[in-house]
């Protein structure tokens, strides 16, 4: 049973570019959340998707957008990249209504130069 998977593992982008990160939830999970973890910090909630809709959003600008597909996988898009967007981006999934804990993927390390 595969856990949460994310791609790519690492990514280097230039300031002003756009990036798309991908996440496949754990089998049986239908809710996907995205978190940003800056160096030396705890993860910060970006947004959460359920039934292909954004259900909750953290304090992130509109440059951060997402999508959930019918197979529950998800994408995180970041436009007009800033140096401060450099971070580990974590995807977490859970099964709505069955458990409270979220299961995290290994993350995508984004470096903006």
């Amino acid at each position: 049973d595969a856990g949460v998977t994310q791609s790519p593992t690492h990514l280097i982008k230039t300031r002003g570019q756009q990036v798309t990160l991908r996440c496949s939830p754990k089998s049986g999970h239908d809710t996907v959340s995205w978190y940003q973890q800056a160096l030396g910090q705890g993860p910060q909630f970006i947004f959460q998707y359920y039934e292909e809709e954004e259900r909750q959003r953290g304090n992130f600008p509109d440059r951060f957008s997402g999508h959930q597909f019918p197979n529950y996988s998800s994408e995180l898009n970041v436009n007009a990249l800033l140096l401060g967007d450099s971070a580990l981006y974590l995807c977490a999934s859970r099964s709505t209504g069955k458990s409270y804990e979220q299961y995290f993927g290994p993350g995508t390390r984004l470096t903006v130069t």
Binding site: Y35, F45, R55, Q56, A92, Y100, E101, Y103, P106
Partner: protein, 118 residues
């Protein structure tokens, strides 16, 4: 608003000794509390959770946590530390979008680096 504080950036303990990693929380309503562990260049691994019930919660790898409502604390403990326990530990609290909903976001502390020396 929900929040979590981990007052210690670093905890050092000798192998075989008991360990405690501290966490205090602030929530409106009933707290849903979690501990996660992160190894270098890895995602977060779920250790244990408190939703309701017994104040002492047992989790993975011999870890347990004690929920104390009066002190709004949820400290992580292990009776005998192992070198392999060395990692970054995060406490988190979950909110709910609305009453009865199981959707919700996690609020994390800044993390505590645990080092267990041989």
């Amino acid at each position: 608003a929900q929040s979590v504080a981990q007052p210690e950036d670093q905890v050092n303990v000798a192998e075989g000794n008991p360990l405690t990693v501290k966490c205090t929380y602030s929530v409106s309503g009933n707290p849903y509390l979690f501990w996660y562990v992160q190894y270098p260049n890895r995602g977060l691994q779920f250790l244990l959770k408190y939703i309701t019930g017994d104040n002492l919660v047992k989790g993975s790898y011999g870890f347990e946590a004690e929920f104390n409502k009066s002190q709004t604390s949820f400290h992580l403990k292990k009776p005998s530390a192992l070198v392999s326990d060395s990692a970054l530990y995060f406490c988190a609290v979950r909110d709910q979008i609305d009453r009865g909903s199981t959707l919700g976001r996690l609020y994390f502390g800044r993390g505590t680096q645990l080092t267990v020396w041989p």
